[in-house]
Symmetry: D2
Subunit: 309 residues, 4 copies
């Protein structure tokens, strides 16, 4: 295998002059306070190796990356019947658009736009109090990352709750169409807390390993999902993981990935490993600007694209 | 390698009772005449082997699958500057929708919806008479398939020309936004003829080999595109190749692919081979119903999904 | 003047066999309980005469007709600056659509669709507790109708509050765009109570008189708005008063009017009088089916259309 | 009656410093050449008087105002069955939008947006060659205006034909939905020529008189339509006559009216008279900027608003 540490070091060195590029998300007050001059990257391989560079040990708000873990949980609970509640197609619109919801009568296009993740939160809530559902997610993420120190940042969760009018609109709209079973405040309680998961690149890379390794964590031996389900989650990440920039990410990087407005991206190289990158400045569709560049460099130098070497 | 011929035979046998399912495209009169009770499948491997089953030697109208070849030609002519004329994102709407064009001021979302392919035709026309551009495409397809017997079905081309009001609308609309350089009739002349390319599954599987084999046909040694470009075309096929059913195809099959309303699908297993399947009955988003099922069976039995084995 | 009582009696007699047509609004549980077999009509003239027929003395839920009174109040408070918060154009979409709000960044198209009336409620709330704003509206309606017995039906208000997810979505969406100054629950508290105003045709006809009589109630002498403002409110009722059926109402009836899903319609014949009609069954755009027919018959027989005699 | 000539003179004097405001339509090359510093206004009363001021005798391209005459012709041919081909509701979108056409499957929202007028042209074509249909329209306009000198400006018609890609898109789109019976070129031949009608304010004011006078020209005695149809055409003008500025025009002016991108507006004061105003500079929704202001001044000073005095 190529010398991954050297590749990470090179990418870091080359991107150093550009650190700080992009625009930090400002619609959630707590996120707006983040120092943009940070960059970290980590790779966890199916062989059990962990490589990292820069600010890879600093926890950040993973935001929408948590949608991957919630989807995994929801599929575990209700299986393929989940798809009566949410679609599997790219949206063709912004991450928080409500237009599509009206056209398609309350069924979000996919689990990785906000409306879809809210519907998924409702599914995970079944039979639980909100606090229990949040606890279940936290336990799940600690389990897949094999790291008991992962936490939820309550300040961020509170900040989102106080300013989440658009998500309130999405949730109430779905409720109007009968696509939420629980009270809107409960569902959003779960939703806002999942967004506030705080993880470092190292933790995130390890947490994504099950998607690279046929559904099981190759280090702990923990089985998470079947190989088929791992492939399917990867497929959804590739077609829908970057909002209305998913096509562009596939074109330039060629790996399944999921981004968050905290500036993180988790990507999967099936059979090889899981990658996490973090840099708070976002591009105009809301994905980490340097994060996407770093992943493109990594894919080019390793030949890990799923679309050919 | 697994016994591909046995797998194809099994798939054919299992699907036999269902042959005829779906609805033949009826908006192009010549296509509406096709006997729905046909099914063929072929695999061309990077090792030079060709496997096939059923009606794999019968030519059919490849329709939108030709968009892959036209995109390859256009990228060869103008390179990455092509992306000022057309986007790279899934559309979130039907293949022939005009709504997106108005919202995004004449720039089609991707090269694989009708509007995008019309813009691509305009690019390929540059410096040519329509007849020459059509000739260039035909030579190119014969070259990549290594088969001089491939032809364009003039009756189908004429039939499309006579009933192509919606494509006329798309082309004129783009022209209004300044996104066509040539007269609408010239551009559509090229467009309608590319749709009318007539190929068998065997020919189509061979024609797609360059996308599986780092940009070159491994049998003839013909170099077509760079490895990077092959990957990128595959990425576009995966995110946008099945209109508003692209997410679903990625979820179930896990291979880059392009469908046509003639009932054909061409798929690519990077590093392994190229697959073509044909069955005229379409599902509700306009993709071959049995074709998609057959590819899902193939991917499941071979482990060829790009998203993991 | 023509014998208005005779005309009303004729209309009632002719429509008798059809009473019960249409579909009672069912999305608000309290409204769904209404007996559809009711029909009433009343005319209040600028001369001080009151004519009525059928169930014209039975109070019903005026629902969106209250938007006219709220608009009048809001214009009184902030004048023409109101139009920075809401537009004056027909919407081209359903009364509760959210699509337009996203396209036009939180500014509702007009004061007579739900989103617009919610913005208006926010304006009327300024400097008030919700209870006070509701009290102000009730006093205003009693004043213009010269009738202290008019009330708000708390059961209907509660029923709307419990099922008003779509209005919650609209309000939160506007709040996200900064087009609400007060907490969503306060604004909707006002909104749901205004919808629950309970009035008979006789009361409603009298309440609308100021719009027919240059802004003042000709009987009480109460001045409500300037003649210019009365004209302008009439103009808005004509272009926007029947949701996406406004053009049709203008075509067939030719009078400014405002409908509610309770089955009421208030119409204005400038210089002549104000008309109220009530029949709970709605047509497919949400306006009283027989109510519209009755008004068309009235306009035809009286020559009251604003578009010529 | 008030001294209309004095009112016109006053309006002209007050607006003189502003003549030249707005932006001349530039998407039709011939129209882009017009000198913006022109302003004319004329009133034809039902009593037979004609008042005018400024450039009221200079012919200009009436453009979309012709849609009123074509609608009158089409209603004369097929009566109320016309409404299976075109709607009667305001569009909520720009005059040349195609989005609505897709959503509503080829049925334009009203006769006064481009798509609607193209459908109307198709209706008027029935049983005719395009040249005959154009001749019929010209004869009709000369008849209602009682002026044989009115002509069609062939240079403008040609200019529109050469640049009318967007109208070609609309027409082909409707043809795709089966809402055109004749070849697109024939229909657009009629459409482009009607737009190129060249009339002065004086001619236009006289041509509109039948709409003010119960369907007949009170001077010539020519009967054009029934009183009911005159009212209905007025209603359509009021709700749909100024594209997405119709609500605003009703609010400020309060008269049925139809604008054209040549800078003309024809308005109707039922029972009183017909008004034409012309000033080439347009506002941002495509209506004559000074024309609308002049009509607002006229309505304010005469009390002619249909919504009350």
């Amino acid at each position: 295998m190529t010398d991954l540490q050297a590749i990470l070091d090179d990418i870091h060195a080359e991107l150093s002059p550009r650190i700080g590029e992009g625009k930090v998300a400002d619609y959630i007050p707590e996120l707006a306070k983040i120092d943009p001059n940070q960059f970290g990257m980590a790779i966890a391989t199916v062989n059990g190796d962990l490589y990292s560079v820069g600010d890879a040990a600093i926890p950040f708000s993973i935001q929408s990356i948590s949608k991957v873990f919630m989807l995994t949980l929801a599929l575990g609970k209700v299986g393929e019947s989940l798809w009566t509640r949410v679609g599997r197609e790219p949206s063709g619109t912004a991450f928080n658009s409500i237009v599509q919801l009206e056209r398609e009568e309350g069924i979000p296009r996919n689990p990785f736009i906000n409306a879809g993740a809210i519907a998924i939160s409702d599914v995970v809530l079944a039979g639980h109090a909100p606090r229990e559902a949040i606890g279940e997610l936290l336990r799940f993420v600690r389990y897949v990352a094999d790291d008991e120190t992962i936490t939820i940042d309550d300040k961020v969760a509170r900040s989102e709750t106080q300013t989440g009018y658009r998500n309130l609109a999405l949730a109430n709209f779905m409720r109007a169409y009968g696509n939420l079973d629980h009270p809107v405040e409960h569902v959003l309680g779960v939703y806002f807390h999942q967004c506030a998961l705080s993880m470092s690149c190292q933790q995130l890379a390890k947490a994504g390993l099950y998607l690279a390794a046929r559904g099981s964590n190759p280090i702990t031996g923990h089985s998470v999902v079947s190989p088929k389900r791992a492939r399917r989650i990867n497929a959804l990440m590739l077609t829908c993981g970057h909002y209305d920039g998913s096509g562009d990410f596939a074109y330039h990087v060629g790996l399944p990935g999921k981004s968050g407005v905290g500036g993180g991206i988790m990507a999967v190289a099936p059979g090889i490993g899981s990658i996490a990158v973090w840099s708070p400045g976002l591009n105009k569709v809301g994905n980490s600007q340097l994060g996407a560049v770093a992943l493109e460099m990594l894919a080019a130098r390793t030949g890990w694209s799923v679309f050919g070497d």
